[in-house]
Symmetry: C2
């Protein structure tokens, strides 16, 4: 599935964005990102989301992942002010950094796109359809093989909120199993989800 950008959410074409992306990340990651975009577009089709916004967010989501950690931290903290954010590792920082690149380099002002990029790893407080789709597409794209991915695919096909909950819970439990420190910002987002009564 390909598409032509017409909404001017960013100042380049889809083709120019892909060429730039290829220069910024490893070949293996580039293939992953293209699969995420396709998965995200399929979900956008199913759930009636803005495909251009979804495509941009999906293509940008790992844009910063192969940067130096210090540069990533600088970008992330240019805009976001979570306590302790600058000391986080690349897993936490790369989404925030990519969103900032999308804002700075590509002139993006679409909050839905920027939040979807920033929150693709740890989720977000009020996730709109774009954010939920990118969050899940990154988790279930066809290259993923971890235990539980089939459940995530099944949930994504039927109820995006259930799918987002599944990923959020599974991610936290995985980190706890691995005895990895938990980022307070991610816990704050999880806590906000526990309080959304409509879910």
């Amino acid at each position: 599935m390909t598409l032509t950008y017409t909404q001017h959410y960013i100042q380049v074409t889809r083709e120019e964005l892909i060429i730039a992306l290829r220069q910024r990340i490893t070949a293996k990651r580039f293939e992953h990102v293209l699969r995420v975009e396709q998965q995200a577009l399929a979900l956008a089709e199913q759930y009636g989301a803005d495909k251009e916004a979804v495509s941009i967010a999906a293509l940008m989501h790992d844009y910063a992942k192969d940067m130096q950690l210090s540069a990533m931290a600088t970008l992330a903290t240019t805009y976001w002010e979570y306590p302790g954010l600058s000391e986080q590792n690349s897993n936490i920082l790369h989404g925030f950094a990519a969103a900032q690149i999308c804002r700075q380099e590509y002139g993006c002002c679409h909050e839905g796109i920027l939040n979807a990029i920033a929150g693709h790893t740890i989720g977000w407080y009020q996730m709109d359809l774009i954010a939920k789709i990118v969050y899940m597409a990154d988790y279930i794209e066809p290259g993923r093989t971890f235990p539980g991915v089939e459940v995530a695919r099944e949930l994504s096909a039927h109820n995006l909120d259930d799918a987002v909950w599944f990923k959020m819970q599974a991610t936290l439990k995985y980190l706890v199993d691995e005895r990895v420190p938990l980022f307070a910002g991610a816990i704050d987002i999880y806590n906000s989800w526990t309080k959304q009564e409509d879910l």
Copy 2:
């Protein structure tokens, strides 16, 4: 296993403490507390901990659990200053409240006892032997039947640090499974454990 208090850690005898305890909590909880004390004393025997301190912490650990929430919050925040502590539920607050009662009503100044009481639910940063024993005794006393309790008993019998890790991880994962908000103070304690290199 019974014992006579001789160290003046608190200003009453074990018998007086038990009589007071019986008046403060439900009959069912009272039985649980007595089992926790016996379990804790058995672990104290095995690991060479101060039995009098362990007995006091075990008998006091749920002392505040049947209080009104507002009174619990007042007691807890008299001494501890965690952000958001006063808004927590009784699961989080009752240990802090009981430690404060031990300090205020029974004149206890033994930091090991007070921290063991305060941290018996969410753990503690630097847990000494008393704290680890009370934390685990509460989890594995013979009345406990939850899935995983046999693993916890096995670990407690062989390596207290492994056992504490098991409870801390299982508790967080249980809360996430139940979609319960996570207390930032508990996450901070968990994070400090992930950074203890000797574990």
